[in-house]
């Protein structure tokens, strides 16, 4: 089988599954709307800032995972894309932690 044929057959396989995918997209959409309402509702509770940040980021992470996993098809994507994103995630975490690590009261600069 040539790679052209492989691509065409992949496309027709997807076409056959597409109705199933659409049902999932609608469920994900409903979940995203519900989680948005929950995020806003929680913000009106009298939570401490630490708790509010934890809850808001937890819900945002669930929402982000739904978008990436289903709308962006990451849950059925090729290994190479996953590898690129794992590398990106590692650098992203380092980037986010930089303020903590380089703070004047940081654990190594305080020596």
């Amino acid at each position: 089988m040539t790679s052209d044929h492989a691509a065409a057959s992949t496309t027709s396989d997807h076409a056959a599954d597409i109705d199933k995918h659409v049902k999932v997209y609608i469920k994900v959409f409903v979940a995203l709307i519900v989680l948005t309402v929950v995020t806003v509702a929680v913000s009106y509770l009298d939570l401490s800032i630490a708790m509010a940040v934890t809850v808001a980021l937890f819900i945002a992470t669930i929402k982000g995972s739904l978008v990436a996993g289903y709308f962006m098809h990451l849950n059925s994507e090729k290994k190479l894309i996953h590898a690129v994103l794992i590398l990106t995630a590692i650098f992203f975490v380092v980037l986010i932690l930089l303020p903590v690590l380089t703070d004047s009261n940081g654990f190594w600069l305080d020596e």
Binding site: S3, T36, A60, G64, F71, M72, L95, L98, D103
Partner: protein, 196 residues
């Protein structure tokens, strides 16, 4: 010469070139927004006091905008799904709706910005507003860029559907990946700027 691997997948990557390219671009975008989020954390944790977002910003309006952007994400994926089902007319409706929802999002942001500017709340007023304008401004540029690409695929770029439907479907999928990324960024911007 034809552009290679637009429809057929490369044997070594298992992907079309467009797919790997858009994901590499999105990886760089993660780092761009990541740097700004890291700056936000640094500025906020270093500040003696910091206003809660709801004290400065319009939460109901931003909630409406969040719902608009999430809705545009499902219309975008439905546009791609329509092409997979070989329904070009339905694709046009969903893609048109996606562009329209992007326009609604930017219009709401225009009113939000106008309100703040009328009150004399500029990026130079305080660090909160500097962070707000930088992050939402960059995000709005992305919404505008995504809309421009989507408008091209709704209009003149759609001619490709007649000559090479698989390539066109792939292009719309890649454009969709960018659009969903823009939605994903907003999913984090909304609580961190408006609710916390």
């Amino acid at each position: 010469m034809d552009i290679p691997y637009t429809v057929e997948v490369r044997r070594d990557t298992g992907l079309t070139n467009g797919k790997i390219a858009i994901w590499l671009f999105l990886a760089s975008e993660v780092m761009l927004f990541g740097a700004l989020f890291a700056s936000y954390i640094l500025i906020r944790t270093g500040a003696p006091d910091w206003p809660r977002g709801a004290e400065m910003l319009d939460v109901p309006l931003a909630t409406f905008n969040t719902i608009v952007l999430i809705t545009s994400s499902i219309t975008m994926v439905m546009a791609w799904a329509s092409l997979m089902r070989r329904r070009f007319g339905t694709y046009r409706i969903y893609m048109g709706a996606t562009i329209l929802l992007g326009f609604v999002f930017l219009t709401v942001k225009y009113f939000e910005y106008s309100h703040h500017l009328a009150l004399g709340e500029l990026p130079s007023t305080n660090n909160f507003l500097a962070v707000y304008y930088t992050l939402t401004g960059l995000h709005m540029l992305h919404v505008g860029g995504g809309m421009a690409v989507n408008a091209y695929f709704w209009g003149p770029g759609a001619k490709l559907w007649k000559t090479n439907p698989v390539w066109f479907t792939n292009r719309v999928e890649h454009s969709g990946l960018f659009w969903h990324f823009v939605d994903l960024v907003w999913i984090f911007l909304f609580p961190t700027l408006y609710l916390l």
